[in-house]
């Protein structure tokens, strides 16, 4: 066994790394995959290809977008990334070997890939950069096959512009590699200095030509168009990634050379054993350092708050209501986007009015988020507006989130929503336009084909269990959307269709959250219009009712509304404790901690 491990330790290490990367994406950060996929739309269309072939780095971007489309399956996404990271590590090692790296320094070849994994915690670093890096490393290997200087110069002259057009800024890895390699081989002499300067000047000239050919700013062309989602930012991580892939093979080669020299010198001093021990110690340190790096990646590279929202987004997209609630139960969420998602999940499970005060609440924005010029929150909010029947608002939020994608990409998820809103609104021509585009995709084609059957067919849509209901829910009498009058809009929705339970529950919850007990009591009788609505009100409603009653100076026991004795007793108890000591810890514990009264008195 020891022999097998000794013989195949490199392959085993790579395999472990590959499995680790798979687990990293599949178990720890699957929502990062979902997030990446929803912010692009790969279209099987020559025009789509032409657009990407038309700018430097576009080929890498095209390949990356092709791969990213498969992230709709999280398993496929994690496998793709695992394979990519293994390829990166293997290429790094092969280049390092060419630079004279000894097998003992195999662990060093993981450093750039691990650093990349760490850097990808910035969700705006796109796969295009990774694909381009693979291409550049492959070119480095090809370069080592060229032996004569004449052929090298010819290869650089022809190959570098092509490489820059294909891999954009990743070409710097190759430029750096050639310079380091030639200096290592020939030493610092006039020839190698001239070659280095010439190569750098040539690279700059290529960038300038590409810049003049493209409608982008210089720094963007130089750093890679669509390698980073925000086109006006050059990410430091991007630069660091290129640098680390350039220097790691050279470092591995340098350390080997240095060690060998030390070894020779140790041998000369008759201390061979001492020399070997020293080497073993270095390898162990390398391995430990890399293992620590991996832990560092997991712990620090990924901003917990940001990725929490991404997780909610993925769960929302997949309608995993129970998982949303489960997550919220484990960790309190406080941002309006998260809170509104939790409330929405509770509503979808029919538990909103029972359980909402078990979770953090702030104001009505936790029910119906206001529009912000921000991608994720707008995208997530559109789901709520859509399901409640505010189709035009859902459409607006969806459209705005589509236009908010920083690198001007489209999104299958959003386009799908736009098909739905237009279909429900009977705007078939627009729906058809989007369907035609979605039919040219891998992940949405089947759905688009199915939806095509609903085009221009009111009857079929009316009969659809979901779209038909949404059609009946949407208001037909026009009014203007108003952020400040959310309760009135919800009221109009419910009055338009008394089957819209969610609209009524949101209306009443909205009044509770805005602490408008008067309007809550005014609107509560509307529940009698809702078929099958329980005669015993949910907990939060009972708590609001009994509070409204005693607030009129009346006795608890005389309350005419359907409030349970249990709630009445707790109201009495809450009142007593509050009167005695407003700051009593008892009011923040047990039943009271999750009561409406706690929100009413303590949430500001």
């Amino acid at each position: 066994m020891k022999n097998i491990v000794g013989k195949y330790w490199q392959s085993l290490l790579t395999l472990t790394f590959g499995i680790g990367v798979f687990i990293f994406w599949y178990i720890l950060y699957p929502y990062a995959l979902s997030f990446q996929e929803e912010l692009q739309l790969f279209i099987y269309d020559s025009q789509y290809l032409i657009e990407r072939l038309g700018y430097s780095g576009g080929v890498s971007v095209y390949i990356a977008e092709f791969l990213t489309q498969f992230y709709t399956s999280l398993t496929a996404g994690a496998i793709i990334l695992a394979v990519i990271f293994v390829i990166l590590q293997q290429l790094t090692w092969k280049v390092a070997k060419n630079e004279g790296a000894d097998d003992r320094h195999y662990p060093l070849s993981f450093v750039p890939a691990v650093f990349l994994l760490y850097s990808m915690g910035d969700e705006n670093i796109l796969l295009g950069l990774v694909v381009a890096t693979i291409i550049a490393l492959s070119v480095n290997l090809l370069y080592t096959k060229i032996e004569t200087n004449r052929w090298k110069i010819a290869a650089i002259a022809i190959g570098l512009p092509i490489l820059f057009w294909i891999a954009s800024s990743a070409a710097y890895i190759t430029v750096g590699y050639i310079i380091i390699r030639e200096i290592r081989k020939n030493g610092i002499n006039k020839e190698s200095i001239l070659l280095s300067i010439g190569l750098i000047i040539y690279m700059i000239a290529i960038i300038i030509v590409c810049y003049r050919m493209s409608p982008y700013q210089f720094y963007r062309v130089a750093s890679g168009i669509n390698f980073y989602r925000y086109r006006h930012i050059v990410s430091k991580a991007e630069i660091a990634i290129l640098l680390i892939f350039t220097i790691t093979p050279a470092i591995a080669g340098f350390i080997t050379k240095w060690q060998n020299e030390k070894c020779v010198s140790a041998s000369k001093n008759n201390s061979k054993t001492k020399g070997n021990n020293w080497i073993t110690r270095t390898e162990t340190l390398e391995a430990i350092a890399i293992a620590l790096c991996c832990i560092f990646v997991v712990r620090t590279g990924y901003d917990e708050r940001k990725y929490d929202i991404m997780e909610y987004d993925m769960l929302l997209r997949r309608h995993s209501w129970d998982k949303i609630i489960e997550k919220a139960e484990k960790k309190q969420a406080t941002s309006p986007t998260e809170v509104s998602t939790i409330n929405f999940a509770l509503a979808m499970e029919g538990r909103l009015t029972d359980r909402m005060f078990e979770f953090y609440q702030k104001n009505s924005e936790g029910l119906m988020p206001l529009y912000k010029r921000e991608l994720t929150s707008t995208l997530m909010a559109n789901e709520i507006y859509f399901r409640i029947g505010m189709i035009n608002t859902a459409q607006r939020f969806a459209f705005e989130s589509l236009e908010s994608i920083p690198n001007h990409q489209k999104s299958g998820r959003i386009m799908r929503r736009l098909v739905e809103t237009n279909m429900i609104n009977g705007q078939y021509e627009v729906a058809e336009k989007y369907i035609k585009i979605l039919k040219k995709t891998f992940a949405y084609r089947r759905w688009a084909n199915e939806m095509e059957g609903y085009l221009y067919n009111d009857e079929k849509i009316d009969k659809h269990p979901f779209y038909g209901e949404m059609r009946r829910f949407r208001v037909t009498e026009d009014f203007l959307y108003s952020d400040n009058e959310m309760d009135q809009m919800l009221g109009l929705l419910f009055m338009h269709n008394n089957d819209n339970r969610m609209a009524l529950e949101y209306l009443l919850a909205c009044e509770l959250l805005t602490k408008d007990i008067g309007h809550f009591m005014e609107y509560y009788p509307l529940t009698s219009n809702l078929k099958g609505y329980p005669t015993v009100p949910p907990r939060s409603f009972q708590e609001a009712m009994i509070y409204a009653w005693i607030n009129q100076g009346k006795k608890i026991q005389d309350c005419p509304w359907p409030v349970s004795d249990f709630v009445k007793q707790n109201m009495a108890k809450f009142g007593q404790i509050y009167m005695a000591d407003k700051n009593s810890q008892q009011l923040q514990e047990g039943y009271f901690a999750t009561s409406y009264w706690n929100y009413l008195f303590f949430e500001r």
Partner: protein, 498 residues
């Protein structure tokens, strides 16, 4: 040397790919004759075109049609053919045919293959006007028809004799910028201006070979300059200044309502870099004034005006009338009174976008049910006012059931371009139509593309604010982008010239 902003890389790739792509090319056999018109896209049957327009390529609006065999014969002679999934006429042959048949018509014969059966449809005509369209092309903005946020957008120029489109300014060059209201002086490619909104806000005025980058906010006006129109002499530009708000409708047919809380009109003097205003149209508490346009002789400014006494609830009663005030270019002064030209409010309708023809005979405008932003009004239609007789009428041949708006005249005053949502109800497309001597419009035609169906299906932008262009604009985008990205702006003053 001025750099074009066509993406050369894209062009090269497209050319390479096109060469590798094969089109269907089949000879029709066993043709079945039907006495029905082919449903073609775009609908070019019966349209009137100028002889210098790009080929009117089309296809059958049915995915099961796999091949088209089209022959076009000129009444005065000449013939061209096309065979493929869509017509792709040779540009030179097309122009030769159109030139030879000027003032007459072309007869289009369509044979289509569907489910392996060739069908010959009824021929249709395309009329070629005697009136040449004196224009190199068009300028327009392309932007997704969104609400508040915009992604990729830009101002473009399009050669009308072929299919070339180039950007004049694109927000890839200035990230996050919004460009709007590109306006040339009588379709000039030398004197033109446009606004930049966003972090690098400015108004770019190209005049007499000089580019000014202006900050148009002053302490005497309500905000930046907005809707422009050049004085025919080229020294002045009439502007409105608007504090614009928007609301969102909750029902399906309408999406957005854009309205002004305040709006005024004024004139910018490009030589003295001053805004000239009169209290008659500036800081008028009770009136909203917008969409100024100089008359052809430059002696009057037409504009739209409405009472500012409204609120969002009563917006449906917000009706703009067409008014005018005189302007003396030599004295740099306004007239002493405002005249109402058309009191549309009495009809319960609202006027916007007055555009006088350059020969001074007509004035085209948009009529909608209410408000000041007809682009989102499905009922918006184009109307014509005869400035000699004072009569006005809807341009029925040009209008559709959906929004028709934002028109501009060619310099010869025989053609106009406008935006229309008639294709799908959302994405505005450009249509061009001919106006005869009686002010009647021909059936408009959709802006030609090499493969229109494919092009417009894939295009997720709307066309905005189109205008004709007398010659190609040479704009060094990268140099202009650098200037825009720097904070330097020329501040201008506002002067009361009552």
């Amino acid at each position: 040397m001025t750099r074009k902003h066509s993406n050369i890389g894209i062009a090269m790739c497209a050319a390479a790919l096109m060469m590798t792509m094969t089109m269907c090319s089949e000879t029709p056999q066993n043709i079945k004759d039907v006495n029905a018109e082919a449903k073609i896209y775009p609908d070019y049957a019966g349209v009137t075109i100028p002889s210098n327009i790009a080929p009117l390529n089309f296809c059958i609006d049915n995915d099961s049609v796999t091949c088209l065999d089209v022959t076009i014969k000129g009444s005065k002679g000449g013939e061209i053919e096309s065979n493929g999934q869509y017509t792709d006429f040779d540009v030179d042959e097309w122009h030769k045919l159109c030139e030879a048949n000027k003032g007459d018509s072309l007869t289009v014969s369509v044979i289509a293959k569907k489910n392996d059966i060739w069908t010959k449809y009824k021929d249709f005509s395309i009329y070629i006007s005697d009136d040449t369209m004196e224009a190199y092309g068009l300028t327009y903005r392309r932007i997704a028809p969104g609400y508040e946020v915009y992604g990729h957008m830009g101002i473009y120029q399009r050669n009308l004799s072929n299919f070339e489109e180039e950007s004049i300014m694109d927000n890839n060059e200035v990230y996050g910028a919004c460009f709007n209201c590109h306006t040339g002086n009588k379709t000039s490619n030398q004197d033109y201006l446009f606004h930049v909104r966003g972090d690098n806000a400015a108004t770019i005025v190209n005049h007499n070979g000089k580019t000014d980058i202006l900050n148009t906010k002053t302490d005497k006006t309500i905000g930046s300059l907005v809707y422009p129109y050049w004085h025919p002499d080229g020294r002045y530009v009439a502007f409105s200044s608007n504090t614009t708000r928007q609301s969102f409708h909750m029902t399906r047919d309408t999406r957005i309502e854009v309205f002004d809380n305040e709006s005024d009109i004024m004139v910018y003097d490009t030589e003295k870099q001053e805004i000239l205003f009169t209290p008659l149209t500036n800081n008028t508490d009770s009136t909203l004034e917008t969409f100024p346009a100089f008359s052809a002789d430059g002696k009057d400014i037409f504009f739209c005006a409405a009472s500012s006494n409204y609120n969002p609830a009563s917006m449906k009663d917000l009706w703009y009338d067409l008014c005018k005030i005189s302007f003396d270019a030599e004295k740099r002064s306004f007239g002493s009174k405002v005249d109402t030209v058309i009191k549309m409010s009495t009809h319960g309708k609202s006027i916007s976008h007055p555009r006088p023809s350059y020969d001074g005979r007509y004035l085209m405008f948009t009529v909608s049910d209410f408000g000041t932003f007809p682009i989102w009004h499905k009922e918006a239609d184009l109307w014509m006012l005869d400035l000699q007789t004072g009569k006005y009428w809807p341009m029925d041949n040009a209008n559709s059931d959906n929004t028709d708006s934002y028109h501009n005249w060619s310099i010869d005053s025989h053609w106009f371009v406008f935006t229309s949502r008639r294709d799908d109800g959302l994405y505005t497309r450009l249509y061009i139509a001919h106006v005869d001597k009686n002010g009647k419009s021909s059936k408009p035609f959709l802006l030609p593309q090499r493969n229109p169906k494919r092009y417009y299906d894939a295009l997720l932008d709307s066309y905005n604010t189109p205008d004709f262009l007398i010659a190609k604009i040479s704009q060094n985008q990268k140099a202009l982008a650098s200037k825009l990205l720097s904070p330097e702006r020329t501040n201008i003053e506002a002067v009361n010239v009552e």
